[in-house]
């Protein structure tokens, strides 16, 4: 067994390397050889193969993602944009906020608890790496059919994992989603988002500059977990007496991560850190090559100094290991002692593993021999770029022609009443309290709003009341019917949710979950969704600060519904004026804002009552969304409304029910002129919200809506112990509550 050093590689050009097994294509391998001017060493091959993977290099998505950069709206709030660990926006009063959503879909299917837990761990490290204190998490989830036995395995494990990790970190969970659809059966989507807060001057970047500065690896020891392909290399290059099949699933240690947060923030506070990077996918390969390529010089790393959990690991495995709860900091030499002392205080292992050099190479040594000698940019930034073919699917027209508006509608009031209850009790529309009650939403003592509110809201400054709000939304059914519109609807809904809480939407992050990019149908969905999202952001003035792409969510030939999830971040100057969803005051007037059309394509009604997906999704009018948002924010600022709830899946009856249950009050509704009861209750037209207006404010409020051209229709009053639709039916609140709350516990409790 010889060590595959750079020297050895130069002298043995014809040695066959397992590039194929590591997932590289032949032309990619040839490019590596061309870049290096020789064959790569095993360690170099390991680095290129993980860094050039779809997950790390965005090779299929890059050409489309570019639009987010090309169509940036004018927005003074952007401080750090796409490309860093997470984007940063200015929220005023000297504060900056960083937020991002990421996917951990596949690991969560294999090992639901640990997969989901480490998903939270990973996104939180991205936030710390920007210099921020994490203040909240959110978890948009998509699962297979609610009554499928495997969903019973996956969902409880995922929820326990997200809770187990987030609760133990002390991060309030303030929002998310839970959607069931058979299309996610073999590919559940576990997306996790996090928000962090810092002062402007504390923003940190993943950058190694200043020759002589030390590279410190700190956190957990490196073990053999998460090494996808490295074991192949290891078994080719080394003896096979050691554990050869390294698990692809990692076990998280939230306690270790909590210490990592505290010690990192303490080091930031003392200004000890020049550059910082978390270790996530591709582990040390990623951290070293990105730090070095973003900086001015090169980097030299002694791999022998990496603290190991398993002494049998090969250098390739150390470079590829995805052991959790590790970070890498660049620190000036005279500050190293202080940095190490802070780590010691928090019982965190920290080791100097290298230093920044004045060259431009990333050099890695093992047992005194050089095993990596590369230009770090070629690893981190110059990965392959694919222009994958795409084309509108042949079935798209037929799908859109299968009009949901033509489905048979309830013929009698009794039937309408029955369908209302059936919808409210359906897994997608039912209360998600069984899930969210497993998450700590109170920790840190700054939670102003959390589930089941439209948006989560966190107080940032105790004295001034400055706060931030976040909502995540996505509708795979709409996006399947029309990807361009579906993506914009996700954006619109999330924007609307934030505005309904009283906060002003500022910027977005996204998590784009799609099938295989090698399928032109999927690639078209992807291209269209990005185009829609980028156009939408330009129009709404909310730049994309960053995000995540998850491809290959596919079982055999069947891709999931294209599912872009959008997280909108908003700011509120004083959380005291936040608008909750609860109808708390009897006698207040209910107004419906926006226009209602016959729009049932992709609706919850079409799914629950007819198991149907076809037609066109609701129309999007982003100017209307913006106007609605402005009105909701003004109304909150001027104290004109006491409650607001956006309308989305399930339509008006869904929102009114949620607000009634939250407030413990009933409502009497009147079907407005020009609408039939069915359309009034179930249509999913976008750009709408329902608000509760004190009688004393009615005139002022309607005048404002009238003056600004937003249709506001009085639809009823908060009153009594039942939800009554005049001339149609009444349902006691207790019956509604039972229908709405018992479904999920009955399935998963």
């Amino acid at each position: 067994m010889t060590l595959d050093t750079v020297k050895h590689a130069s002298g043995t050009p014809d040695v066959e390397l397992p590039w194929k097994e590591l997932g590289l294509k032949e032309d990619e391998y040839l490019r590596v050889r061309e870049i290096l001017g020789r064959r790569p060493t095993g360690a170099e091959l390991a680095m290129y193969s993980v860094m050039w993977s779809e997950h790390c290099s965005y090779k299929s998505s890059k050409v489309h993602l570019k639009q987010f950069g090309d169509k940036v709206p004018a927005n003074d709030a952007m401080l750090v944009g796409i490309g860093e660990n997470a984007g940063v926006v200015d929220v005023g009063q000297g504060y900056a906020v960083t937020f991002k959503v990421e996917s951990h879909n596949h690991p969560s299917y294999v090992e639901p608890y640990q997969g989901a837990a480490t998903g939270v761990g990973g996104i939180v490290r991205d936030i710390i790496a920007m210099g921020a204190r994490p203040v909240a998490v959110v978890d948009p989830l998509r699962m297979g059919a609610a009554d499928h036995p495997d969903t019973r395995r996956v969902l409880p494990g995922v929820v326990a994992g997200i809770g187990g990790y987030g609760n133990c970190l002390g991060l309030p969970n303030i929002g998310g989603e839970l959607v069931f659809d058979a299309c996610y059966q073999g590919n559940p989507l576990v997306n996790a988002g996090a928000i962090g807060v810092m002062r402007h001057e504390d923003i940190h970047l993943a950058k190694a500059s200043g020759p002589g500065n030390k590279v410190i690896l700190y956190g957990a020891r490196t073990g053999g977990d998460g090494i996808g392909g490295a074991s192949i290399l290891a078994s080719e290059t080394f003896d096979d007496t050691k554990p050869s099949k390294r698990p692809a699933v990692q076990v998280g240690d939230p306690f270790q991560e909590k210490l990592l947060i505290e010690c990192t923030l303490e080091a930031f506070a003392e200004k000890l850190v020049v550059g910082i990077q978390d270790l996530g996918a591709a582990g040390l390969s990623c951290a070293t090559s990105e730090l070095a390529s973003n900086g001015s010089g090169g980097m030299r790393v002694e791999l022998d100094d990496v603290p190991l959990r398993d002494s049998t690991l090969s250098p390739e495995e150390i470079l590829m290991s995805e052991s959790q709860e590790r970070m890498c900091a660049v620190v000036e030499p005279d500050k190293v002692d202080r940095f190490l002392a802070i780590c010691e205080k928090w019982d965190v292992i920290a080791t100097v593993v290298g230093e920044v050099t004045d060259g431009d190479r990333l050099e890695i040594f093992w047992h005194g021999e050089k095993i990596v000698d590369v230009d770090p940019r070629t690893v981190a930034h110059d990965g392959p770029v694919y222009h994958r073919p795409y084309a509108r699917p042949s079935w798209q027209d037929a799908l859109q022609a299968d009009d949901a508006n033509k489905l048979p509608r309830p013929a009698t009031s009794a039937e309408l009443r029955e369908q209302v209850l059936r919808l409210l009790a359906s897994p997608n529309q039912a209360s998600k309290a069984w899930v969210t009650d497993q998450y700590d939403r109170f920790v840190q003592g700054n939670t102003v709003l959390a589930q089941p509110e439209d948006a989560g809201m966190i107080r940032v400054n105790e004295e001034t009341g400055l706060g931030v709000a976040i909502a995540t939304d996505g509708n795979g059914r709409f996006t399947k019917l029309d990807p361009y519109t579906g993506a914009q609807l996700a954006l619109a809904e999330s924007y609307r949710n934030v505005a309904a809480s009283g906060a002003k939407p500022l910027a977005i992050s996204d998590c784009l979950n799609f099938g295989s990019p090698e399928d032109p149908d999927v690639m078209w969905q992807f291209a269209e969704a990005i185009r829609g999202l980028a156009d939408g952001c330009l129009q709404l003035g909310t730049p994309v600060t960053g995000g995540n792409v998850s491809l290959y969510n596919q079982t055999g030939d069947a891709a999931i519904h294209p599912t872009p999830v959008v997280a909108v971040l908003g700011v509120i100057d004083d959380v005291a004026r936040r608008t909750p969803i609860a109808f708390k005051e009897e006698g207040q007037l209910l107004y419906l804002l926006g226009d209602t059309h016959e729009e049932f394509g992709g609706s919850a009604w079409s799914q629950v009552v007819h198991d149907h997906l076809g037609g066109l999704p609701p129309k999007v009018d982003l100017e209307r969304e913006r106007l609605l948002g402005d009105i909701l924010i003004s109304a909150s600022r001027d104290g004109m409304i006491d409650a607001a709830h956006d309308l989305s899946d399930g339509g008006l009856i869904q929102s009114v029910t949620e607000s009634c249950l939250r407030g413990g009050n009933g409502a009497r509704l009147v079907v407005p002129d020009g609408l039939d009861a069915f359309t009034f209750l179930f249509s999913e037209s976008a750009g709408r919200a329902v608000v509760s207006v004190p009688r004393s404010e009615e005139l002022r409020f309607t005048d404002m809506c009238g003056a600004r051209g937003l249709p506001a229709t009085r639809i009823g009053v908060v009153d009594g112990e039942e939800i009554e639709v005049q001339g149609e039916f009444g349902i006691p609140l207790s019956e509604v509550a039972e229908a709405h709350r018992s479904t999920i516990p009955a399935l998963f409790g």
Partner: protein, 226 residues
């Protein structure tokens, strides 16, 4: 002169900053204490805050109990210093045998986070004097190891001596025996409970109630008048 109330931070403590804030809002002087430091820095009372100290590995509170700061807290508590254990703090107090019984995994096996109604059974401990006996309050509950157990004899003793300080109302959230949410020691200076009064001290935040503030005003009054 106001009272100095210490809040201990162990590795993995989460609600320390919230407890410090609650102390401040009540008008006392909050003093952060560190687990490795035996010195209590002249505090008049100590709060052991919630969280997952040492990840709650092994058992909740089992590892923290052996920290340097706890050696002093145990000694001082026995000498009469007021100590309040909230959630993880309560678990540490039972592991330290300052309070009887033990905490186990909730009977439904899930973490549970909700607004929880309680009855304050004892309004004459150091931490509950601002309540009246029998008063009903609502404060957040959030834990996975919140099931209070003790043997029958201990439970009978606790009842007989009136040391069940808080009881769950409107449904037992975790299978705690006799609906016990919190207990006190015989002297009434050491009190532990699973729900989180420190999360219910500001009208805008959390559940929007301030039912938990009484814990902190109780101790402040007691210390200032002493």
């Amino acid at each position: 002169m106001t009272a100095r109330i210490g809040v201990v931070t162990f590795p993995g403590t989460l609600d320390d900053r919230d407890s410090l804030r609650a102390v401040r809002i009540a008008g006392a002087e909050p003093v952060p204490l560190w687990h490795r430091d035996k010195d209590l820095h002249q505090v008049d009372a100590v709060v052991l805050a919630g969280g997952f100290s040492y990840g709650d590995y092994l058992r909740a509170g089992a590892i923290s109990r052996f920290s340097p700061v706890m050696a002093t807290v145990i000694e001082q508590a026995k000498a009469g210093m007021p100590v309040l254990g909230i959630c993880n703090g309560f678990q540490i107090l039972t592991e330290s045998h300052l309070l009887p019984g033990a905490m186990l995994r909730n009977n439904h096996l899930h973490f549970i986070c909700r607004d929880q109604k309680l009855r304050v059974e004892r309004a004459d401990t150091a931490w509950t004097a601002d309540y009246s006996a029998g008063q009903e309050i609502s404060v957040p509950l959030k834990n996975i190891d919140g099931r209070y157990v003790a043997d029958e004899r201990t439970l009978d003793e606790l009842e007989a001596e009136g040391r069940v300080a808080f009881r769950y109302l409107d449904g037992n959230p975790n299978g705690s025996l006799r609906d016990i949410a919190g207990v006190s020691n015989a002297a009434g200076n050491v009190v532990g409970l699973m729900p989180h009064p420190e999360h219910a001290v500001e009208p805008l935040i959390g559940t929007g109630r301030t039912d938990g503030l009484g814990f902190f005003t109780s101790i402040l009054k007691k210390l200032v008048s002493a």
